[in-house]
């Protein structure tokens, strides 16, 4: 059960009264963004991994500046190195990564004489049991919509955290959700994807991630920032990831270094 679905639902009522307007915004000095999500897809060897470096820019700017020339190395607890090489456009690639469930990895980035570091654990995930769809009455005067439910079984004796990602062929951006097992320990549950625009024939790429509690806290804030707004919104929080600027603790580095085992499915709506 995703608690964060509740408030955005209220927005649906008011959606028709929203209008895009022009606003004068300031632009802050650029900050480093580390997009380092190491995902090990079930059934693959997980050797190829990508990390992206970029900086922040003005809110309405069309281009996001990328960062090149950094040296990126990920190490496991045995100090085995997995280097990521700059392949251009801020994309750094590693081809010999060794994912191990429960292993702790450390990320080190050297850029312009500065060092940035982060540490996380690779969390496993139960497999997706099944995916079902259900036609539901539309909200308000909308047509009936199709809800997609992704089922998985939560292990009973551990406190587990999950993230889901949905990318459809009709939307430009993916939708993320996070949940913890507080209310469904040990049960088979479903994650709900609610998109009133999907129709028969649409394709949805679904991913289920096992995540750490710290990443769950991070993504909870992130999903409320990107999905929220409206009269019931909370004051937007400063999103702090786990990447630190060594020697400069007040410098805010955006993004997160996460490691997850993931299960992927492609679902075609019938």
């Amino acid at each position: 059960m995703n608690k964060y679905i509740l408030l955005p639902l209220l927005l649906i009522v008011f959606a028709s009264c929203e209008k895009a307007i022009g606003v004068d915004l300031e632009t802050a000095a650029p900050r480093l963004v580390v997009d380092a999500a190491i995902n090990w897809e079930k059934g693959t060897d997980g050797k190829e991994q990508h990390i992206k470096l970029s900086t922040t820019t003005g809110y309405f700017s069309a281009i996001i500046p990328t960062v090149s020339g950094a040296t990126i190395v990920v190490r496991n607890s045995a100090n085995t190195e997995f280097p990521f090489t700059d392949s251009g456009n801020g994309d750094y690639v590693c081809t010999n990564f060794e994912p191990v469930i429960g292993e702790t990895y450390t990320l080190t980035i050297n850029l312009n004489g500065q060092t940035y570091t982060a540490s996380e654990t690779l969390i496993d995930v139960p497999p997706i049991d099944k995916i079902e769809q259900k036609t539901e009455t539309g909200f308000g005067s909308e047509d009936d919509r199709i809800d997609v439910k992704t089922f998985f079984t939560d292990p009973a004796n551990t406190n587990d955290f999950y993230m889901t990602r949905y990318q459809t062929n009709i939307n430009a951006i993916p939708a993320y959700g996070v949940t913890d097992d507080e209310f469904f320990q040990g049960n088979q549950v479903f994650d709900l994807y609610l998109n009133p625009d999907i129709k028969q024939g649409d394709v949805i790429a679904i991913r289920l991630y096992g995540i750490s509690e710290q990443y769950f806290n991070y993504m909870s804030i992130l999903t409320s920032i990107v999905g929220g707004g409206g009269p019931f919104a909370t004051a937007p929080a400063t999103l702090r990831g786990n990447v630190r600027h060594v020697g400069n603790p007040n410098d805010l580095v955006l993004g997160y270094f996460s490691l997850s085992e993931i299960d992927k499915r492609t679902y075609i709506v019938y």
Binding site: S141, P231, R240
Partner: protein, 792 residues
């Protein structure tokens, strides 16, 4: 009884000033009511011009004035009624009840307040606004429905978070800091569905008073204001019905005698049906409310009266029956007025109040119920010792039972487990004493003390944290995080987990320059033991009330105010200027990303901060004539600060003061009603306010396929200015005058020039093309309303 009274008087006067043994004093007392329906009248002026002294009737219509023996002309005056003068030879304690007749229909002026003549200048009472129900009924409001809360928003120092927002903010305070009483019973949520209407049926209301500062000692439990609302008793003379049909809702009220001139009943209800129009457009959403007010009054004998009143209201909001939210208040109270003597009036109230809120999300598969029950006993005494000295004292005790949430799976294939969040209990007793004293002809004093206590009680399993810190600061990541409990303690049923006690002094002084000018100052301390856990800008149906405990401290408010009051042209105009400063300690703030819903350990997401607000309020009123109304302007600031707990922690916003979400620099409101002819009268409201505080992003970045806005300082920006003009016209068919059956048509237009006021501005990616957008949400454009009201 007589001897005990003398001892009490003697003791008190030894502590204070003037007491004259030289002349015998006698008491003139009684009850003043409306001659048409026996409804007691609150705030009636009983003056003795020869002595330049007077009193006003209390909430139950009772007055008592003690003066030296002699012959006097007693003058009884009250807005909307004919003044009565009677010559009295006072040579013994005399009981005089009065029945006032309404002013003739043709001459009836719509009067906006009833602070008339010398009373508002003289009394050491300030920061108070009293609104008569007749004036509220003439103001144009949303969708043509009369509304109590929307009317107080036009007063200086009162704002709210905007259209669709429930609750109201007084002098930069939160919506949770208002004590709202309906016939002395506590109301937790004063708004129906999303703040469009208040829970108060205007037909059932007799009187209301809003205290923004200088709050008397008999009130306690909330930091910023008291909205005290009294229901009508019901006519004990004849049977009457009052009703109205509108576009959005309808109401019906019936009142009449049970025993003529002794007992009466009042029953009223309202229901909205706007959602039925939605069904016509094939929209399956529903939003409706209904409420019911009922009262039984019985006068046993001249010294004893009994009142039984009840209120029940429910709101339902549902999205195609898959998401359903239900909430509402219910209250039941029994009150007994008893006159121990003609100088000692008492009221005993036994109150039960229940606030329920629940959610049903069928498509996810869970059902959620939560609520607050409270049991309250109050015993208040008003001792009218002399015309220059009045003593009030009493006790109050409330027992609370909170259900923070019961979670149930709503159908067989839901994956949700049953869960019950631990129930919370608390006990809040208090005692108070205060005095209203006229030191001289020019100086009036009010001074009092309230002593309040609070006990957070078990049965509960309470968490224990290292260093007693439920929130820890992670210096590596520079964020506040929930602490993990190291142990837990069990407290048995009704065992004290934490307790607090505070003295709350209240004082005011008025200095009268002459009949038309005065200057006043006041100080009050209020302590609030219940906190509303909400980190949104205005209350939502998902907010939770929680009692103070060992981690959550009570809010303590200290407010000073200074004011200047002047009446012009024989009270045709009046001017009030007040300046205030309010500081509240222990205002809660939330760590970033606080998860409030179904939270079993709220202490892990809360930080302790403080709040301050200050400002200037101006109000110019025209009290008489065909055109009357007022203009109010408030210039104020409201800020919050949450410093780090030690030098290593930054706190929220680096421990700097930042604007609270209730900060509105400018607030201008004007209301006018004009009686054009016997048939037509017109009304207009205009509001202009600074925009609500908002946080704007100052950058964007890409992460995992999403574009994320990065936000600047909290609440540093402002939404566009909020303003709207509303007009109304009331048509009273000529045939009404003098007839038993009266009717009128009310036509209203809300937001005449269709301004799209921003309720919020959100920053999101467009779902189709991924571009960054700033989206303004506005709720009301121009809204017409028609209603038809009848009375017989």
């Amino acid at each position: 009884m007589q001897i005990r009274q003398k001892y009490l008087s003697l003791f008190l006067f030894l502590l204070l000033f003037q007491f004259s043994f030289s002349q015998q004093k006698f008491t003139l007392s009684g009850t003043i009511a409306d001659s048409q329906n026996n409804e007691t009248l609150i705030g009636v002026n009983v003056t003795i011009p020869e002595l330049k002294t007077g009193v006003t009737t209390n909430e139950y219509g009772f007055y008592s004035i003690t003066v030296p023996s002699g012959t006097y002309t007693v003058q009884i005056s009250f807005v909307g009624y004919q003044t009565v003068e009677q010559s009295i030879a006072l040579d013994k304690n005399t009981k005089l009840n009065y029945k006032l007749s309404g002013e003739e229909e043709q001459l009836q002026e719509v009067v906006v307040t009833d602070n008339r003549k010398a009373t508002n200048i003289r009394k050491a009472e300030m920061s108070v606004n009293k609104l008569s129900i007749q004036s509220i009924k003439k103001m144009p409001v949303v969708m043509g429905e009369v509304d109590v809360l929307k009317s107080i928003l036009l007063l200086p120092g009162v704002t709210n978070a905007g259209e669709g927002a429930s609750g109201f903010n007084v002098r930069g305070g939160g919506a949770d800091q208002n004590l709202i009483l309906l016939d002395e019973a506590n109301i937790f949520n004063s708004s129906h569905v999303f703040g469009f209407f208040s829970v108060f049926n205007p037909d059932a209301i007799k009187d209301l008073k809003l205290y923004k500062g200088g709050i008397p000692a008999r009130y306690g439990g909330r930091a910023s204001s008291v909205l005290d609302i009294y229901q009508k008793d019901g006519s004990s003379k004849g049977f009457h019905v009052n009703g109205g049909i509108g576009l959005v809702s309808s109401r019906l009220l019936a009142e009449g005698p049970i025993v003529k001139d002794k007992g009466s009943f009042l029953v009223g209800g309202r229901a909205s049906y706007a959602h039925l129009f939605l069904k016509l457009t094939d929209n399956k959403n529903a939003a409706y409310f209904y409420d019911l007010n009922a009262k039984l009054s019985y006068k046993l004998n001249p010294n004893n009266s009994l009142y039984l009143s009840g209120y029940f209201g429910r709101d339902l909001f549902s999205l195609s029956e898959q998401f359903e939210n239900v909430y509402g208040n219910a209250t039941l109270n029994l009150r007994w007025n008893h006159l121990y003597s003609d100088k000692l009036f008492s009221n005993l109230s036994l109150i039960y109040s229940d606030y329920y809120y629940g959610l049903d999300l069928d498509f996810i598969g869970f059902k959620w119920d939560s609520g607050i029950k409270n049991y309250n006993i109050k015993y208040d005494f008003k001792n009218y010792i002399s015309d220059n000295f009045k003593l009030n004292y009493g006790v109050n005790a409330i027992y609370y039972a909170f259900n923070p949430g019961t979670l149930k799976p709503s159908n067989a294939d839901s994956g949700i487990n049953y869960d019950q969040l631990e129930r919370k209990h608390a006990f809040e007793p208090a005692a108070y004493i205060d005095a209203e004293q006229n030191i001289s002809k020019k100086i009036s004093l009010y001074y009092g003390l309230r002593y309040s206590l609070f006990y957070r009680l078990g049965e509960t399993n309470s968490n224990i944290y290292a260093n007693n810190e439920a929130v820890v600061f992670n210096p590596v990541f520079q964020i506040y995080e929930k602490a993990k409990p190291i142990a837990s303690t069990y407290y048995g049923k009704n065992k004290t987990i934490a307790d607090y006690n505070y003295l709350e002094p209240r004082a005011a002084i008025a200095y009268q320059f002459n009949d038309n000018n005065s200057i006043k100052a006041s100080y009050n301390r209020m302590v609030q033991y219940l906190q509303l856990i909400s980190n949104t800008s205005s209350p939502t149906p998902l907010d939770i009330w929680t009692p103070s405990d060992q981690f959550i401290k009570p809010q303590i408010a200290n407010q000073v105010a200074l004011g200047f009051f002047r009446n012009f042209k024989d009270s045709e105009y009046s001017l009030e200027a007040e300046t205030f400063y309010k500081k509240i300690d222990n205002r809660l703030d939330y760590i970033d990303g606080a998860d409030l819903i179904a939270n079993k350990a709220l202490e892990q997401i809360l930080l302790n901060g403080e709040m301050r607000s200050y400002g200037l309020e101006l109000m110019l009123r025209k009290n008489e004539g065909r055109l009357n109304g007022w203009i109010s302007y408030t210039l104020s600031k409201s800020q919050q600060r949450t410093p780090g707990r030690n030098a290593n922690e930054p706190g929220i916003n680096n421990g700097q003061w930042y604007s609270s979400v209730y900060d509105k620099l400018h607030n201008l409101a004007a209301t006018a009603s004009y009686k054009y002819t016997e048939k037509w009268s017109f009304g207009a409201n205009f509001a202009l306010q600074s925009g609500q505080p908002v946080t704007y992003p100052n950058a964007q970045y890409k992460y995992q396929g999403l574009t994320i806005p990065n936000y600047g300082q909290r609440n540093e920006n402002r939404l566009p200015a909020y303003h709207h003009l509303d007009l109304s016209a009331t048509l009273t068919p000529r045939k009404n005058i003098g007839r038993k059956w009266q009717s009128e048509w009310v036509f209203s237009l809300y937001n005449v020039y269709n301004r799209a006021n921003a309720a919020s501005i959100s920053f999101r990616q467009n779902y189709s093309n991924g571009n960054n957008e700033a989206l303004r949400l506005s709720i009301f454009g121009v809204v017409p309303g028609i209603s038809y009201n009848v009375k017989f």
